[in-house]
Amino acid sequence: MSAVTTTPAPSTAESTSVTVRSWKAPIAFAIFTVIGAALFLGLGRGGDTTYRLSDGRDAIQLPALILPSYATGIVAVILMAAAAVGAFLLVRAARKVPLWLTTVFALVFLLGFLTWAAAGATVPLVGLLAGALTVSTPLIFGALGGVISERVGVVNIAIEAQLLAGAFVAAMIGTLTGQPMLGLLGAMIAGALVSVILASFAIKYLVDQVIVGVVLNVLVIGLTSFFYSTYMVDNPELFNSPDKFERVAIPLLSDIPVLGPILFNQTLIVYIMFVLVPTVWFALFKTRWGLRLRSVGEHPKAADTVGINVKATRFWNVLLAGAIAGGGGAFFTLAAVGSFAKEMTNGAGFIALAAVIFGRWDPIRATLAALLFGFATNLQSTLSIVGSPVPSEFMLMLPYIVTIFAVAGLVGMSRPPAASGKPYIK
């Protein structure tokens, strides 16, 4: 008996060690260290970078943080090189490069880059981070919708469509009723309706899910642009001027320096997001619902065998995913901009999709990825005001290049839910 049980054990240990010993992380670290050294030291810039930590209105005023640009660059490069060596040693010892090391590496690189790019200027840190959160919020909603949908086994390329439909309906209903809450509700229903098409075509008619997703994106762009041109352009006050959600400052918490005004002086939709991310994580990994959902996405046949209704589970959870993404779309029209415009999501759904994959189909990691992308996008607008040596186009490119690096390097071997994209035929 013992012989039988021990024989498979080494083989599995061996196979895991083979997959774990991936040199991608140290190589990526090394590449970024070299880039950092070239920029911060090779093209080093003198002067100081000032980080303004408080706004004039804040209750607690912090002094500005002043970093000498060149020295900070040296420290950043040393830290990054150390992290790269550490990662190299870890991989050689057949161990994983932990997530925190990657996070710290990314933060050091970003700080070094920011200090280099904004040398001789002042960076309003609070504004930068708050703006990043604003850009990230719809991405996070979209990414959560994507995670749920893909975990249950339906590839969701239609996040863009769900966001756009949500944004449109939120503006329309928000204006007609004068109630942003109803607008948000309408956005969730709109996102769910997009999901109904996705789910019924993918689950009932067994059409390739990527195809349905791509077509849905085109369809929703067409529909919203058509109704925008026919209704909203001529009568904006009737159809396209919703009341925005007011910012609500949470007492005490919003007075925390730096973080307070960023996190706790926000609109309702952002607070919903704060609750939603841990809820989705908990529900996915700690509840019966989540177990069933993941089993359907990983091995539908096994799930069916133990009595889980695969098609119904997929259908309702894809609907739920659509409702979440649609709610995120409402953020565009009810919180960020205040009116609908043609194709206003502008590819946010695809960045959310990238966040899902970058985040390895995990709600927390996907949220972090969405935050990173939102930060990089917002960094560009801040730096273009400050006047940075990097052309703004290259800054805007950054999230996409990082994603390609990540997909090819850091998470190249990431594994989607096993049955994602495959229809289940009994």
Partner: protein, 457 residues
């Protein structure tokens, strides 16, 4: 794995062009004021899908019978009905008449007929034949050439997407490949003077190479690292967009000297695609190139060893690897060729369409339209060709529709996506029209990317 049916397929597809102009009155009578270009494309699909069953496998036999001509015609019909519904919903005349519907219902019906009939008549005038100008033959026949001109980049890009499809790769990177190809060709075309014919050829080749490299990068990443091509192509679209935007506002790169707008200088006369039918029509050499590209893709897929490998990988990468095919190298090759084909669309945009100088929006959504074209054409070269012409007709007609009837051009996107949705789901169309099911196990099949995911390494 013989492919004896495919030349017939292509021949029939080609032959279908002429009879299709007469339309299929039996299919379309009395349902909706159908315009001929819809029956035109439907006829094309009729030709493409009504071929004798292939000996390859029963699966494909089922597929071809399942996606029968009736389904294609009905899908286009349904999409036009949906388009009509949208038009009716937003038409002011209809809304006015509906206000007193219960006292005079005939008025509402007449208003509906006016709105839909007017819209589709305008679509016809803009895409096939302008019957309002019978005295002026040039003006009367210009719409059909506009249709072909609009179809040219759609077909080229559609071929690129379709070819990748056949290998099981989803090439969403049309926009990026077009932009890079256009930037490369545009630079040569606008700023490097050369003798007449040589200039055109060099610009064309440089542009196509640009597109091929941008596409091949995706194949390389997929083959080497297993990076998911959907993500990589989406990301590369944005990288290309910002890269070209940067070049367009940098003097010495693409920006016209002495200009402030992010726009290139005009193409030199020697690099512009020559007109086929004289200066009064927009049809140019690009259309011939696209016909040649279609023939090439047909030859590649059905007659060459490389195409055999492509299809084998598309059917089952595991089996292909076992059979000794280097799957990674197939991914690189197919993305190089797909990028080149999409690149041709980009080159057409700068050397044939926006010859006065181009901006970063030169792709005009063609990169994404190409996906629907490839799907409607079922990833077959001639299918893509006729799907491209149908969508080119919709595009050409939509401008007349907007000018004459005030219907936003965006309706084309809606009709386009409805067509693809209905084509993609034959059981749905059958359920709507209560057609018999030819085989309950039928499923429209495109090499699904899910199958290639595991084959990445």
């Amino acid at each position: 794995m013989s492919n004896t049916n495919d030349p017939k397929d292509a021949a029939l597809g080609g032959a279908a062009a002429s009879p299709s102009a007469k339309g299929h009155p039996a299919d379309t009578a009395g349902a909706e004021p159908l315009t001929p270009e819809t029956t035109d494309a439907a006829g094309a699909q009729h030709g493409a899908s009504d071929v004798p069953p292939p000996p390859r496998s029963t699966q494909i036999l089922k597929e071809i019978f399942g996606g029968s001509a009736a389904i294609s015609v009905l899908a286009v019909l349904l999409a036009l009905i949906f388009g009509g519904l949208l038009i009716v919903m937003t038409d002011e005349g209809v809304q006015e008449a509906a206000g007193y519907f219960f006292s005079r219902p005939a008025d509402t019906l007449r208003a509906i007929a006016d709105a839909v009939g007017g819209a589709y008549a305008a679509l016809f005038r803009g895409s096939i034949f302008n019957y309002l100008r019978p005295d002026d033959l040039v003006a009367a026949f210009r719409p059909i050439t506009e249709t072909l001109a609009n179809a040219t980049p759609l077909i080229a890009a559609g071929l690129g997407v379709a070819l990748a499809f056949r290998v099981g790769l989803f090439n969403i990177g049309g926009r990026g490949q077009m932009l890079i190809a256009a930037a490369a060709a545009g630079y040569v075309g606008a700023y490097i003077p050369m003798p007449p014919v040589i200039h055109l050829i060099v610009a064309l080749v440089v542009g196509i190479i640009g597109g091929a490299l941008w596409g091949g990068l995706v194949g390389l990443l997929k083959a080497r690292t297993g990076a998911h091509e959907v993500i990589v192509t989406i990301m590369l679209n944005y990288v290309a967009f910002y890269l070209v935007s940067y070049l367009l506002r940098t003097e010495g790169a693409l920006q016209a000297p002495g200009q402030n707008n992010p726009k290139s200088g005009p193409m030199l006369e020697t690099a512009v695609f020559p007109d086929l039918l004289g200066p009064q029509y927009n049809l140019n050499l690009g259309f011939i190139l696209v016909v040649l590209a279609t023939i090439y893709v047909w030859y590649l897929l059905n007659r060459s060893a490389m195409g055999f490998q492509f299809r084998a990988v598309g059917e089952n990468p595991h089996a292909a690897r076992v059979a000794g095919i280097n799957v990674g190298s197939v991914y690189v090759k197919v993305m190089l060729i797909a990028g080149a084909l999409v690149g041709l669309a980009g080159v057409y945009q700068v050397l044939g369409n926006f010859t006065g100088g181009f901006a970063a929006g030169l792709d005009a959504g063609i990169g994404f339209d190409a996906i629907t074209v490839a799907l409607l054409g079922r990833s077959k070269p001639w299918g893509v060709f006729f799907a491209g012409i149908l969508f080119g007709a919709l595009k050409a007609g939509s401008y007349t529709m907007q000018a004459a009837e005030g219907i936003p051009v965006d309706i084309v996107l809606v009709v386009q996506s409805f067509i693809v949705l209905f084509i993609a789901a034959p059981p749905l169309v059958r359920a709507i029209f209560r057609l018999p099911t030819p085989d309950s196990s039928f499923r429209w099949r495109v090499p699904s990317i899910s199958r290639t995911k595991e084959a990445a390494r």
